[in-house]
Symmetry: C2
Subunit: 335 residues, 2 copies
């Protein structure tokens, strides 16, 4: 029996648990050669999934109503029609919100649990870690002594951005939701300073944390936080645009009709670079990232934090909490 979470309806604004439907189906059967039956062990939950619930063109097609919710998984091969993957092998897959999935062997990558435990391949050594690396190194291009500000800084992308920037000799400033996460950013992830995006005087707090302005703003948030960051950006600052979690459930209703004009003015006057990216754009740098990060993770030199929730049945609630910032660290469902 294969339990799977399907998209039941498209949310308008904040999603709710009724947007998902748990269905029991037969375990899928292997068909073509080169395919593999997977038993999902860990499911990654990530903010981008909110966007995939919308019926809108994005960098990937939306999830159709009645389709299984998409997601990266660490899975065990249980049957194989491909000589490259023996049963028992642990792989990184796009297994989705379900117990079992059939996948083409070419889409899988075996993971080496002698380097790190399985959830690490969904966090520091997986897409979040590599996203941090690609956006920071290839777009942000920080130099020693520069100030790097990171949105959603205790999340799996942001926490890696902060640590990589710190290793390069930058001043690192976290933006996080609430005092507890700010403490986590400094004490666990080693940021030099942290500000709470719920602070009514966020602008003053951020200015104090960035006495030399901001050279790189790693954008995960959008909306009001972006407005606060823009005036502090230095000439020639770089803004890798990785995510806009505050905008995924709406199109941004913060009322100030001059915001775009002010942003563009600063883009011109300060010669800013804003550049959007998706991690797959940088696939050619994945080996370079793993060569850097795997030994650091193995030696425990990269701080990690995973928020592991037990049971596929809890995926929607955990996901809704993620969108509200209720998780602590990389949210992973253990199946």
């Amino acid at each position: 029996m294969n339990r799977q979470w399907q998209l039941a309806r498209r949310p308008v604004g904040d999603p709710s648990s009724g947007d998902f439907r748990l269905v029991e189906t037969a375990v899928p059967e292997l068909a073509a050669s080169g395919s593999v039956l997977l038993h999902n062990r860990y499911l990654s939950l990530d903010p981008y999934m909110r966007w995939r619930m919308n019926d809108a063109k994005s960098y990937a097609p939306p999830v159709a109503i009645g389709d299984v919710m998409v997601g990266a998984t660490i899975a065990e091969v249980v049957q194989s029609n491909d000589s490259g993957f023996e049963p028992g092998t642990l792989v990184l897959a796009g297994g989705g919100w379900q117990d079992y999935a059939v996948a083409k062997a070419a889409t899988l990558r075996a993971i080496d649990t002698s380097v790190a435990d399985a959830p690490a391949f969904l966090s520091v050594l997986g897409s979040p870690g590599f996203t941090a690396y690609a956006g920071l190194m290839k777009i942000g291009m920080p130099k020693a002594g520069e100030t790097v500000v990171v949105g959603a800084a205790t999340g799996p992308v942001g926490s890696m951005v902060g640590q990589l920037a710190k290793r390069l000799g930058c001043r690192t400033v976290a933006i996080a939701g609430g005092g507890e996460k700010c403490k986590l950013a400094i004490e666990h992830f080693g940021f030099d300073a942290a500000v709470d995006h719920r602070d009514p005087d966020l602008a003053a707090a951020l200015a104090t944390a960035c006495p030399n302005g901001i050279d790189v703003y790693f954008e995960n948030i959008g909306g009001r936080v972006l407005d606060t960051v823009v005036p502090l950006l230095n000439d020639f600052a770089r803004v890798p645009v990785c995510g806009l979690v505050s905008q995924y459930s709406d199109e941004g209703s913060y009322p100030d009709e001059t915001r775009l004009a002010l942003l563009m003015r600063d883009v011109l006057v300060k010669r800013l670079t804003l550049r959007g990216f998706i991690v797959t754009d940088f696939a050619q740098y994945r080996d370079e990232f793993i060569e850097l990060a795997a030994p650091l993770v193995a030696k425990g030199e990269i701080a990690r934090l995973e928020d592991v929730v037990d049971g596929l049945e809890n995926a929607p609630d955990a996901f809704l909490g993620l969108l509200k910032g209720r998780n602590r660290g990389k949210l992973v469902i253990k199946l």
Copy 2:
């Protein structure tokens, strides 16, 4: 006697002729060695001067009340304390809105009128031409077959952008103000298509002119035109932000509070690059530009259009007309 236009007061919104004051002063005297007395022959008038009238941080300090309005000039050396510049030499200088100026020799560049006449060194071979080259080649990076859309397309920057892009095999689309300028863009400057930014259905006109979307948008305008361009930008489009003339007199009052959110969404989803630049950021490429452009200009292969207005006394009115788009081609005052 030296006539000079001083800034009389800071305009709020659209400037008017009362913001300038014509003053007669003594011809300045040479002092330090290495300095030169210049007699201005041509004065360049450019949209950026509107911004310099504001008391706001920009990429250059504002003009102070009572100071001479700034501007590039082609000037004749009339006295010299520097062995590099004989009297009679024509130079490119920052002589300002006046008859005479004293300048440091190190800030001057002699011009070669065997290549082109003097006004060309304020247009196709001067800062506008080089601005076009640097922004298009170093940020826009167009490839043959791509679509390049150019704001303020019949101005000295835009018309050069279009011609350079066309030489690279791009489809070039002009945005210009009014039917006459659209005709000029196609017939004189060789754009493949032109749309009138006053067209009430600009969005449809631009979509028709860009059947394969937009790969490079050379931004000179801002405001409503930018809003119209953004939805047509292709994945990985580049937006060199060179100017925002529609925003210089206000901070952008076009009322739509979702504009910034929509722009940022597209920056992310389409992996856009927005990058502001000032031509001086690319000083290292000036020789490369001159090597390319000077022979083309000398052979008449670059279309030029200069709008030469006689008499320093007419500078403010000509400048106010420039801000309203009333000039045709590069606006130059002949002294």
